[in-house]
């Protein structure tokens, strides 16, 4: 079999010349890189829930954008930033309390999303708004969105670059960071806003509720493989791009295998992430991590009655 046949087997005809595919590849890669980089900090800081919630709440902005006909990216972005600020506004010292605040803000934000989606459905004839906002439609992104998306992505990466050291320090040990003069709370707020940027980007590609996959998945895999933060960030970005492009390819190809009823891109990306995580989690570092668990595996006390 020559290379030509192999390639044509791998890439269905039209893959490289299709305009939607090209746009999807560019925006998808931007979203994956930003999510991977931001995701490493999200995982280190134990803020997966906040990352997921920002996506949920930003869907209110996405559905509002649908309603008012404004740029969807701006909609996701505006609501995400608003949610990030309200989460940081409520003081919560304990992790469980922080999760609770996150949950409450999410509930309120989703209520607003419910309203906008409801209005979307009643004022326009499109019934697909909920599905588009929640699950994304990467092949339907207009090419005109690319410059803004790249700008937002570059902004997020720039912010991480500028904040890198104090952010890393305050993520690893907030007390130590406070002693060194790092404004820990401000750092938390700025970071959540950056997460909102990353999430808005992935919301328009894989959809609001699956953006968590791009944020947490590649970062979790990378942190399993690399112990150094810098390396983990690089790896997360690479893994993110790989699964996104892989997902786009599989989804595009699947139109052929399934007779025109292809698999959605978000499904393909998430499956690739999951498979990669499952493979990585089976290997080395996982055993070490188990030691962090405070509780034993539950052996029964071996009490012998001698009395």
């Amino acid at each position: 079999m020559d290379v030509q046949t192999l390639l044509s087997l791998l890439f269905e005809p039209g893959f490289f010349t299709s305009e939607p595919v090209r746009t999807a590849a560019v925006i998808g890669a931007a979203a994956a890189i930003v999510s991977g980089v931001v995701g490493v900090f999200t995982v280190i800081r134990g803020q997966s829930f906040a990352g997921h919630s920002l996506a949920d709440v930003s869907s209110a902005g996405g559905s509002a954008a649908f309603l008012f006909g404004i740029n969807p990216l701006l909609g996701f972005l505006g609501m995400g930033v608003l949610a990030a600020m309200s989460m940081e506004l409520v003081r919560a010292d304990r992790a469980s309390e922080r999760d609770l605040v996150t949950g409450v803000v999410t509930g309120a934000g989703l209520g607003v999303a419910a309203l906008f989606l409801y209005l979307d459905m009643t004022t326009s004839s499109t019934t697909g708004a909920a599905v588009t906002v929640m699950f994304g439609s990467i092949f339907a992104i207009p090419a005109s969105l690319v410059p803004l998306a790249l700008l937002v992505g570059a902004g997020a990466l720039l912010a991480i670059g500028v904040l890198y050291r104090p952010l890393l320090l305050s993520s690893l040990d907030p007390d130590l960071a406070a002693v060194r003069g790092v404004p820990v709370r401000l750092m938390g707020l700025l970071f959540l806003i950056v997460v909102a940027l990353a999430v808005a980007l992935s919301a328009i590609t894989v959809g609001a509720i699956l953006s968590t996959g791009l944020l947490i998945g590649p970062a979790a895999i990378a942190l399993h493989l690399a112990k150094r933060p810098g390396l983990a960030i690089l790896l997360a970005a690479v893994i993110g791009v790989a699964v996104t492009w892989g997902g786009i390819l599989v989804s595009y190809d699947s139109y052929e295998w399934t007779g025109g009823r292809g698999w959605p891109v978000s499904f393909c990306i998430v499956m690739l992430i999951f498979v990669a995580y499952a493979v990585v989690a089976q290997t080395g570092p996982a055993r070490e991590r188990r030691q962090e668990h405070p509780l034993p595996s539950g052996e029964k006390p071996h009490v012998t009655s001698a009395g």
């Binding site: 469980s96 509930g107 419910a114 959809g207 699956l210 996959g213 947490i216 499904f267 999951f274």
Partner: protein, 264 residues
């Protein structure tokens, strides 16, 4: 708003509120908000799958929330709990995206499943809701003491022979059951609002665990009733009011605790 077609709505919503409030007490004291959010959301593709296969949607919800519990507990054995929750949630939602792509007639139902459709409760829907609700509450009552001890301190529990891992799995299963019953009524995205808002206010109002749990159920019922009434009057979705009122309840609880600390 108390017309015949609304009677079932009031009954179903009240049942859901009681269960969510009671289960929510443990969600709050265990700090399990993420799991309580993730389980309903990962159960929701189950309804789509059931629709595709042609079985009862409730069965699909139960199967998928069960998968959510299994995913969280299995992945949590090898890594952190929040990562395990996020990854199994994303995995099941990915399946949801796949099922949804198989049909376009289902788009309207997506909205209902995500955000709730309290006005469409039929007589036939009430039976399963009541049954699953009764089972969830019964489990909480049976497990009350060991679950409470294990929630206060997993180590104290282990020293008394209460396995923290078993308690976690049982607790998640109860959340999953409550989720499956509540999801068709209030929707996946808002079930958990009812689990966190009322309970977080209740814990500020009383020092006794049992009273706090019952109070949480009561506040939850009031929240849902007010939400339905407001929704009926304004013609806006009930989810908006459930989410908003829960946030208000949380704020009220924090303010009450704050005032109490300062002896006001």
């Amino acid at each position: 708003m108390f017309e015949d077609f609304m009677v079932n709505t009031w009954i179903a919503a009240t049942l859901v509120a009681v269960v969510a409030g009671i289960v929510g007490f443990f969600v709050v004291i265990r700090g399990a908000s993420f799991a309580a959010h993730a389980l309903p959301l990962s159960a929701f593709p189950g309804a789509a799958a059931a629709n595709l296969v042609g079985v009862n949607p409730l069965l699909g919800l139960l199967v998928f929330s069960g998968l959510g519990v299994a995913g969280i507990s299995q992945l949590a054995r090898r890594g952190r709990r929040d990562l395990a929750t996020a990854l199994s949630l994303v995995m099941l939602l990915g399946l949801g995206a796949l099922f949804l792509s198989r049909t376009t007639e289902y788009f309207q139902a997506v909205y209902a499943l995500l955000f709730g459709e309290v006005l469409g409760v039929s007589n036939a829907d009430l039976g399963p809701v009541a049954l699953l609700g009764a089972v969830s509450v019964a489990l909480i009552v049976i497990l009350f003491r060991p679950l409470l001890l294990s929630s206060v301190s997993p180590e104290l529990g282990e020293a008394r022979g209460v396995s923290a891992r078993l308690m976690e799995a049982l607790f998640l299963s109860v959340v999953a059951l409550a989720t499956a019953m509540a999801l068709p009524v209030v929707g996946a995205l808002l079930v958990f609002s009812l689990m966190v808002g009322p309970a977080s206010a209740a814990r500020a109002l009383t020092n006794r665990p049992l009273s706090a749990m019952l109070l949480s159920g009561a506040i939850s019922v009031v929240t849902v009733w007010a939400a339905i009434a407001l929704s009926f009057i304004s013609d806006w979705p009930v989810g908006l009011f459930v989410g908003g009122l829960s946030a208000l309840t949380y704020g009220a609880g924090r303010s009450w605790a704050w005032a109490g600390e300062r002896g006001l």
